[in-house]
Amino acid sequence: MYITVKYFGQIVEVTNTQEETIEVAGGHVSDLVEVLNSKYDQLENKDFQIAQNQELVSLETELTGLEIALLPPFAGG
């Protein structure tokens, strides 16, 4: 499946893009993260949470094909 992946804050400094489409065979969020880690070798050093369809998910969550976002630590306020 093709998944839209969005990047924010300091993650953009690693990916140099705010959004892209990534092809994965499916499976779990961890499978997508594996693809991203092999594409961006600095990503493993970064702290981030993952949202699928705007809800925080874990690595064990199944990919649905809906939008994924990599969210570094929040700093609102």
Partner: protein, 147 residues
Amino acid sequence: MSDKKPKNAFRQGAISSDFIGNSIYKHQTKTSIGAHNIFLGQVRADEINGKIVSAIEYTAYEDMANQKFHDIREAAFEKFELTCMHIYHSLGTVKAGEICLFVFVSSPRRKVVFEALEYIVEAIKDEVPVFGKEIFEDSSHQWKVNN
């Protein structure tokens, strides 16, 4: 929980004292209110390793953030007897000394607004995907993290 569409809580740049004053003024017609409480988040000129923060550049996952603001708002209305509440957060550059977060709660009675305001501000810091790049006077930067 209502099905209302989330409002846009974001404003470009700093939140001006005019905007804040005008918000207070607009509540004069709501005469069931007996107490307002206001939180203003201000950008601090922190000194980090000898360098001074001159501004914070805010970005956000806007759709998710507005949904979270909406959820926090709905939860606050369920938990506390509020007449109304407003949340505004800056995007883009906010200089040290300027306001980046404005939370405004109103209720018939005072005790409620103290509790409600703390609950809302803590939830915003914890749950809303907003990111802050702290810009130093020499144009270098680091990423802000809420603790």
